[in-house]
C-alpha cells in the first residue's frame, strides 16, 4: 500500500460518516518521512523511529583519535584468522559508533576507558596507547582483559574492557561474516522435521513413542486440516 492509499484508508471511515476536517489537507500535513541517510531499520517504522534513526546516524560520537583506537582494539578482540575476517572488516566500529548514541549510557564508560589507556600509557611508557608498540599495547591489554586475574586498582578499566568485548563480539557475530563463521543455518523458509537422526543418536535422545504418529509430517503441510467431532484430525 502506498502513502496515498494508506491515507485514504485512514480517512475513509471519517469522511464517509460525515466528519469534516477543517484544517489543511492531510497530504499537506503529512511530513516527508523518507529517510535521507541509509542504514535505519526497515519494516513498519513509525515517524518517531525514522526520525530517531536519522538523527543517530547523522551524529558522530567518537573523535578521530578515538575511532583509530577503537579500530585497533576491536581487532585485538576479534582478529582475522584463517577462517574469517576481523572485527573492523566486519563493520564492528560503525556498529559501536551507533550504539554509543542509541544507548547513551555506554558513552562515559567507553570514553573514560579509552582515556585510561592513554593515561596508563603516559604514566608507564610516556606514550599514548596508539603510540605504543604492538608488544607494549598487549602488555596494557593483558592487565585489563582477564577479569579473574586483574588487580583491584584497574577494576574500572576491566569493566570498560568487558563492555568493549561485549559490543565487539556481538557486533561481529551479528554481521554477515559472523553468521558465516558461526555456521548459523536458520532464517530461511523450511519444513521443520525435528532434530537430524544422527544428532539425536549422538546425544542419546529419542522422540517419545507416544507422539510419533501425531507430530507434523512435512508432506501433509499442504492439506487443509479436517477434524471429527472429538477433535481427532481425520484429513
Amino acid at each position: 500500500m502506498n502513502r496515498r492509499e494508506n491515507l485514504k484508508l485512514l480517512f475513509t471511515g471519517s469522511l464517509a460518516s460525515g466528519l469534516l476536517f477543517t484544517s489543511c489537507s492531510p497530504e499537506d500535513k503529512q511530513a516527508d518521512l523518507s529517510p535521507k541517510i541509509s542504514g535505519g531499520t526497515p519494516g513498519g517504522r513509525i515517524e518517531e523511529e525514522i526520525q530517531r534513526d536519522q538523527r543517530l546516524l547523522s551524529e558522530t560520537f567518537f573523535t578521530e583519535e578515538e575511532r583509530k583506537k577503537l579500530e585497533v582494539l576491536v581487532d585485538i578482540i576479534m582478529p582475522a584468522d584463517e577462517e574469517s575476517g576481523s572485527a573492523s572488516q566486519a563493520g564492528v566500529p560503525d556498529f559501536i559508533e551507533f550504539m554509543m548514541k542509541d544507548s547513551p549510557g555506554y558513552q562515559t564508560p567507553m570514553r573514560g576507558g579509552m582515556m585510561w589507556l592513554d593515561s596508563y600509557g603516559n604514566d608507564v611508557y610516556g606514550k599514548t596507547f596508539l603510540e605504543l608498540s604492538k608488544k607494549e599495547r598487549m602488555e596494557v591489554i593483558d592487565l585489563i582483559a582477564w577479569p579473574d586475574k586483574a588487580s583491584p586498582e584497574v577494576k574500572g578499566a576491566v569493566t570498560f574492557f568487558n563492555l568493549l568485548r561485549n559490543l565487539t563480539a556481538t557486533g561481529y557475530f551479528t554481521s554477515e561474516m559472523g553468521y558465516q563463521y558461526l555456521g548459523y543455518k536458520g532464517n530461511t523458509p523450511n519444513a521443520w522435521d525435528g532434530v537430524p537422526e544422527e544428532v539425536m543418536k549422538k546425544h542419546g535422545v529419542e522422540l517419545p513413542e507416544k507422539y510419533l504418529a501425531h507430530y507434523l509430517k512435512p508432506e501433509e503441510r499442504g492439506t487443509v486440516a479436517v477434524w471429527d467431532d472429538d477433535g481427532n484430525l481425520i484429513g
Binding site: 500500500m1 484508508l9 471519517s14 519494516g43 523511529e49 577479569p147 551479528t174 530461511t188 544428532v199 484430525l233
Partner: protein
C-alpha cells in the same frame, strides 16, 4: 487547547474500541451478522504482508542496533509491538510503595502482532477457584459455557497441540505439533526423572492450513515479528482485515478514544475520540459500544466517561471498575548444557516459540500456595542478534579444552572468537507463568493530577504481590533448579532468594493483566454480567481481558477470543430481540 467537536451524521450499529484479540473477534462476528461496525484503533494500520511493514526474515545487520530493543520496541528492533512500557506523551502513574508496568501497543492488531501465541484453554477448575481454595471469586460462567466457543476459535484461528486428556488442561481441535528441538529433548529427559510432564506446546501457528486464505508456517522462529504468510494468529491479519473485506467494517486509525458518550437515560450513544492527525476531538454514534482497548485502557475509558447518569464513570455504579487488576506471576532461570557445547549445526528455528511445555502438574492442597503455574522452555540455535557474545567475562570458564582445562574468563583474540562459536546454542532456560490471587486492593484508578498529551486523565496503579505469589515463585525456583540439574545442565547465576521475592517479576511485566471490569451475578461487586454486558448500561460491552474474574495459570488470549465471540453472539441476539 480548544477542541472542535463535530457530530457524525451516520450512526453505526456497533462501535468497537481497540483492534486486538477481543476487538478483532467482535468486528468479525458482528459484521458477519450484517451489522455496521466502526473499529477505532489508537495506532496506525499495519500489515506484515506488505514489504514496507515487514521485519520477518531480516538478518540482524539490517538493523543498525543489530536488533537491540528501543523505548518503542523494548523486545527488539524487529519486534512488531509498537509502543512499549513508556510511551511518549502517554504517561501513567503508580501509588508509592506499589509497582505496575503497563505494556501497550499502538497499531492495528495491538499486542497480538508480537505475542507468544501460547493458546491455552482455561479448564473447569479455572472458573471455580473459590470453590476449591476459598480465595478470590468464582466466575459466573463455567467451562461448559465457553467450550463451544473455544472449539470454534480453534477451528477459525488454528492451534497445534496434542490430545492429553488432562482434566484442567482441556484438549481442543489441534493441528499437528512440531517435533521437539534438541534442548527440549534434554529437558524432557530430565523432567521425566522428576515425574514432571513435558508435553507438546499449544501455540497458534498453522503447521497445516485451516483454509485457503492463510499460509502455513515456514518455521523461521520469528512470530514476534508478525507473519507475512498470516501463518500465526494476529488480530489484524486473521480477524479485522477479513472482516473489512467481507462486511460493513470501517477502521479508524490514530483514533484515541477518550470516553463513552451516554444519554440522559444512561444508555451509551457512542464514543468521543481524539484524532492524532489533527489533535481534534470527534464523536461517533452507535447503538452499541464494545470496549476492547485492553483491560486497563477499557477501565480508563469507563472511568473517564462521567455524566449525570453515571457520576462515577459508565459501568462503575459498583465502584469496581479498575479493581481486581491482576497479572500472571513470572520467574525464570537459566543454565548451560555442557553436552550442547560445540554442537552440530542445522536449522533449528522451528516455530516462534516453545515446541514443548509443562502444564501445572501438582495438587495445591499439598503445597503452601493456592494456585499453579506452567513452565515455558527456551534455548536452541536461534538467530544471532544483539546480545550474542555478551558475558564472556563470566561465561568463558564453562568452555573446556581437549584436556578438560577451562578457558579463562574474558580475554580476546582467536581463542575468544572460537569460544563464542563453541558456546552458541548451549544455554537454555525456563520461565514459570502462574496464577495470582485477584485482590480488591490491587487496582487502577484515574489520577486526577495527570493528563496525557490528548488531555485525557491517566491511570494510576496500585499493586502489591501477596505471600501467595511469593511462595509460588519460591516453588518455581526450586523446580527450575531440579529440572535443569536433572537435564544435565549447569546452573547459571545465583538462585533468587527472598530479597528479590524469588525473582518474581514486577506486576504487569508478564503482560497478562486482567480483571479490571470483572463479570459477576451481583451488580454491587462486579462491573459486567455473565455476558460481558455492563450492569448499569445495557448497550455497553467489554471484550478484552477486563471481564476475567481470575486469570488461571494460562495465557489469556484464547479465553479473550472465546469470550469475545460469545459476547458478540449475545449482542446480535439482543439486537434482534430489540432488547438493546
Amino acid at each position: 487547547m480548544s477542541f472542535e467537536i463535530k457530530s457524525s451524521g451516520e450512526t453505526y450499529d456497533v462501535i468497537i474500541v481497540g483492534s486486538g484479540a477481543g476487538g478483532g473477534m467482535a468486528s468479525k462476528i458482528l459484521s458477519e451478522a450484517g451489522l455496521s461496525v466502526a473499529v477505532l484503533e489508537a495506532g496506525k494500520d499495519f500489515d506484515p504482508a506488505k514489504d514496507e511493514d515487514r521485519t520477518q526474515l531480516r538478518p540482524a545487520w539490517e538493523s543498525p542496533r543489530r536488533g537491540a530493543g528501543t523505548r518503542i520496541r523494548p523486545f527488539g528492533d524487529f519486534d512488531q509491538a509498537i509502543g512499549g512500557w513508556d510511551i511518549e506523551g502517554e504517561p501513567y502513574t503508580r501509588a508509592s510503595g506499589t509497582s505496575f508496568d503497563w505494556f501497550r501497543s499502538r497499531m492495528l492488531g495491538g499486542r497480538t502482532n508480537h505475542w507468544g501465541r501460547i493458546s491455552l484453554r482455561f479448564g473447569p477448575n479455572d472458573f471455580k477457584r473459590k470453590d476449591i481454595d476459598g480465595m478470590g471469586d468464582n466466575w459466573p460462567i463455567g467451562y461448559d459455557d465457553l467450550k463451544p466457543y473455544y472449539d470454534r476459535v480453534d477451528k477459525l484461528i488454528g492451534v497445534f497441540g496434542s490430545k492429553e486428556g488432562i482434566y484442567n488442561e482441556p484438549d481442543g481441535f489441534f493441528l499437528p505439533p512440531p517435533k521437539p528441538r534438541l534442548h527440549e529433548m534434554y529437558i524432557m529427559k530430565g523432567a521425566k526423572k522428576s515425574n514432571m510432564p513435558v508435553i507438546p506446546g499449544r501455540l497458534s501457528m498453522l503447521t497445516r492450513p485451516i483454509n485457503n486464505e492463510r499460509g502455513v508456517c515456514f518455521f523461521c522462529n520469528q512470530c514476534n515479528r508478525a507473519c507475512q504468510a498470516y501463518a500465526d494468529f494476529s488480530s489484524g491479519t486473521c480477524l479485522v482485515k477479513p472482516a473489512m473485506a467481507k462486511g460493513k467494517v470501517e477502521l479508524y486509525t490514530q483514533a484515541m478514544v477518550r470516553a463513552v458518550t451516554t444519554d440522559n437515560n444512561g444508555k451509551a450513544t457512542g464514543v468521543s475520540f481524539i484524532s492524532k492527525i489533527d489533535m481534534k476531538e470527534y464523536k461517533l454514534k452507535s447503538r452499541v459500544v464494545v470496549l476492547g482497548a485492553s483491560a486497563c485502557e477499557s477501565a480508563r475509558i469507563m472511568l473517564n466517561s462521567k455524566s449525570n447518569s453515571h457520576p462515577n464513570g459508565v459501568g462503575n455504579s459498583s465502584g469496581m471498575v479498575g479493581r481486581y487488576l491482576h497479572d500472571s506471576t513470572g520467574a525464570d532461570r537459566m543454565g548451560i548444557m555442557p553436552e550442547l557445547i560445540d554442537r552440530e549445526r542445522y536449522n533449528e528455528d522451528g516455530v516462534g516459540g516453545m515446541h514443548v511445555y509443562t502444564p501445572w502438574w501438582l495438587d495445591n492442597k499439598k503445597l503452601d500456595f493456592a494456585r499453579g503455574y506452567h513452565i515455558e522452555y527456551w534455548g536452541g540455535m536461534t538467530m544471532p542478534s544483539y546480545g550474542i557474545g555478551f558475558s564472556m567475562d563470566t561465561m568463558r570458564k564453562y568452555l573446556k579444552d581437549e584436556f578438560g582445562n577451562p578457558s579463562p574468563n574474558g580475554g580476546y583474540g582467536e581463542g575468544l572468537k572460537k569460544d563464542v562459536r563453541r558456546i552458541y546454542g548451549s544455554t537454555l532456560g525456563m520461565s514459570g507463568r502462574g496464577e495470582s490471587i485477584p485482590q480488591y486492593s490491587n487496582y487502577c484508578e484515574i489520577d486526577n493530577n495527570v493528563v496525557d498529551k490528548f488531555g485525557i486523565p491517566v491511570l494510576k496503579f496500585h499493586y502489591q504481590w501477596t505471600d501467595q505469589e511469593i511462595k509460588q515463585a519460591k516453588h518455581m525456583q526450586d523446580t527450575f533448579e531440579e529440572i535443569l540439574t536433572e537435564s544435565g545442565a549447569t546452573l547459571l547465576g545465583q538462585k533468587p532468594g527472598p530479597e528479590t521475592m524469588y525473582g518474581l517479576a514486577t506486576p504487569g511485566r508478564i503482560i497478562h493483566e486482567v480483571g479490571t471490569t470483572r463479570m459477576g451475578n451481583d451488580p454491587s461487586t462486579s462491573v459486567l454480567n455473565s455476558n460481558c454486558q455492563a450492569h448499569d448500561c445495557d448497550n455497553l460491552f467489554v471484550v478484552d481481558a477486563g471481564p476475567f474474574v481470575s486469570q488461571a495459570d494460562k495465557n489469556p488470549t484464547w479465553t479473550i477470543l472465546a469470550l469475545a465471540w460469545r459476547t458478540s453472539d449475545y449482542i446480535v441476539s439482543e439486537l434482534k430481540k430489540k432488547n438493546i
